[in-house]
Amino acid sequence: MRKLLPIILVSFAAFLFLIRLFYLQVLNESYDEVSNNISVRKVYDYPQRGYIYDRNGKLMVGNQPAYDVMAVPLEVKEFDTLELASLLKLTPKRLKIQLEKAWRYSPRLASLITPQLTKKEYAYLQERMHKYEGFYIQKRSLRDYNADHSANILGYIAEVGPGEISKNSYYQSGDLKGKQGVEEQYEEALRGERGVKHYLRDIHNKNIKPFKEGKFDTLSEKGSDLKLTIDAELQAYGELLMQGKRGGIVALEPATGEILSLITAPSYDPDLLVGRKRSRNFTKLYYDTIQKPLYNRALQAVYAPGSPFKALTGLVALQEGVVGLEESFNCYGGYSYGRGARMGCHNHPSPVEMVTGIAHSCNSYFAQIYRRTIEKYDTPQKGIDVWRKHMASFGLGDYLGYDLKVGRAGLLPDSDYYNKAYNYPTYEWYASATLSNAIGQGEVLTTPIQLANATAAIANKGWFYRPHIVKSIAGSPIEDEKYTTKQVTTIDQKHFEPIIQGMHDVFNYGTATYLRVPGIEVCGKTGTSENYTVVDGERMQLTDHSIFVAFAPKENPKIALAVFVENGYWGSRYAGRISSLMIEKYLKDKIERKDLEKWILSNTLEDEYAKPYSGEDFKINQ
């Protein structure tokens, strides 16, 4: 027995060790990854973000170098907090918070401590950085704007948040990512591909040699350049015209659906959201809840379309065959439709048929042909649904599918909508209940881009391409079927002739005679839309929105646009003038009607916008 002790001990030890080693080395595979985390350092090479050009090849957005201070928490040794904080222009408390955040993100991976130093700050810091173990400077590129406009189209770039990092494994703390606009929509094309080099490193954090002869290294790929459909000059001019006003302008090229301008007012200088000043400025913009500069009115604001909608009402009535072109209606300053209900109209020559009806924007005429359209069918439900189908074919009542992230569906009511509203079948409802739709003042709601698109469809006599903002990526034109497939409306081509003539006559003898553009055949339609706001729980009516849609030239149209100016009163007053100038600018490349331009530039609506917040009683439509 005594002799056996050594044998027992040795067998026990060998057995124990082999099991433990088998567990550590063979069964447990997690150590491999841990080992790589410890001894392999990834060095990232951030490529330049793609440039953004306008449709004519003018550079809108380039890049400038920026320097981020990063830290790997595990490697941070004790340091002089006060000194580093003052170098980084942070408060010591802020520096501490950033380091704690970094710990939570990962002790081993680099986290951003303070972003985007300027070149000068970088040069100063670079010499002192060696004193702070665990900290290093990462070069990145920041946006450099060549334009003070288009902020809402372009969007901006910002560091990814923790949520985005956990959602998309590509991103790491400190990475920049497009937010809003084209930067967000085309993030993957613009950002390119980050390159990475793996180095074996030692305990002192020195790189020893490439890991596995660089087997896992990748080269960075420069981001693709984007060419937008935007005409930078027109865009800048539109933004200039909209100064002191609120609203949106969308200008399209009818033949292609390319967005020539997408203006929202008020806007901001895109340079405000570059670099370290971004977060402060963003907060300012974000909390401006009265002007809402971050809100893209051209895409997100829903308005009653007002009179421009009459053109569509006319088209549907023609398609449904409920009215002849020559058939004339008398207008007695309005249209009465049973039990004292009456839709007013303004003063204009009477009687009117289709062409003159549009030119004079006669409410009575369109109310009656709308009523006939709905009443053509056995029930108002059926009638409304047919009407809706026609309207939807113009891209109304649903998201248009353009290549920007934000938008609204707008509203095209259907039979379900009215059934619910009138509690059908307990109560019946009839065409007359929906009559305001005829003149774009009922339940119908549209965004500026929807209205511009419908105008382009009229200009094209029955078809359109979905509006889009990118023309080509890295030199090759977009191939997305969404934007290269023709969308055809439900209205036959022949019915567009009289409508277009009517819209042309708007300038000849109708509601916008003083807005003619010399030498160009413009077609358009004024609009005025009643609207309300709620301030401190009180609903109040405000001055009407000024609306205008137009396209030009009449034959082979090059531009179709919709302009909304909030509380601009009647259509030709603000929106019409702006449309006219935009068309002149785009087609002639210069403005000859200096008076008209001067009027727009010198008149603002700031007083109008201040009214509901003044706390005093005010009058509207003055």
Binding site: K3, L5, V10, A14, Y31, S35, N36, S39, D202
Partner: protein, 416 residues
Amino acid sequence: MPKTLLQIDWLTILIISILIGFGWVNIYSTTFVSEEEIIFDLSRIYGKQLFWIILGIVISIVILALESKFFERFASVIYIFAILSLIGLFIFGKTIAGQTAWYSFGAFSIQPAEFVKTAVALALAKYISEMDNDLSKFTSQLKAFAIIGLPLALIMLQPDAGSAVIYLSFVIPLYREGLPHFYITYGLLAVAIFILTLKFGFSIFAPVFVALFIIIYLFNRKKKPKLWRYILVLIFGLGFSYSVNFILNSVLLPHQKERFNVLIGETNDIRGAAFNLYQSEVAIGSGGWTGKGWLKGSQTQGRFVPEQHTDYIFSTVGEEWGFFGTSLVIILFSILILRLYHLAERQKSQFSRVYGYSVLAVIFVHFFVNIAMVIGLFPTVGIPLPFFSYGGSGLWGFLILVLIFLKLDAKRKSLN
């Protein structure tokens, strides 16, 4: 001498040579700087080790050339000389990392504790093999313990708790020669109580311990056990368990206490106390079946494991040679110890047998404690892996220890 070469146990020599060679290969990996280097470069760790190895061979030849009777005859003198060398440390010694354990000669240092083991083994063998000493007698036990205890106490004073642990290994030869069972039984019991109390706390351990004792007592009732003995062991056991916290907090130094906490998973600070073990486990664990290849271990090449060329050399084997490499080392050591055991058992002279047992015991405890520490089964104790770790004193100490025994074994027929 030529005769000795024929009679010597070449299997032992072979295994030792493989261990030394493989050890050097791993030391090279932990300390080489660039790929165009001269192997024999005394400014580098691996170059020095090569120098120690060559001198070690010379020392081995000298040992083999000595008269076999010399060791038994001069055992006492060697022992006294060894004790003096330990005492001398307090006067002439050099303090490195808080331990006064080295004599310094310019660039080289010698650690006498590495040689004292041999002296103790010789002295113990000599004492036990004397006619009138019987280890079942208390006085003999006491004297034997004194032989071990004196150098042990001196080493503890350096202080070098790690090397002190090694002296427990002499219980193995003593047991073989008749030391009563209960030293082993109660020793193991104490270790078990210590670990279990540490892990589960006194309040959980105590009731379980009491219950276990009652069950054992009832189970053995027919053999009419002495109740007082059970009660005595129970009281001492509980008392020891109760004082674990006290030992931990008052007897052990803070860093020693931390090492226990790391082992039982109480402390997980991988940047502080648990850093060595964590890095070592990561290095070994990432080796897989076949390892990352010589000079290709990313943990080793990044020098992430502290003391990797000395106490943690086994982690290099794990990372660069994988499970195949580590099992080879385990198996080589097992064969070596079992071979020494076989040689010891075939000795006719009691002196040779006790000495042989001491040799295998010392190597076993080094092997066990070192590897258990490196793979996270034992608290951090700074003792080297025999023949493998970097260090001249250690290498020479082990060579002398084993070679004396091989000489005794070669001449076993003439010794009795």
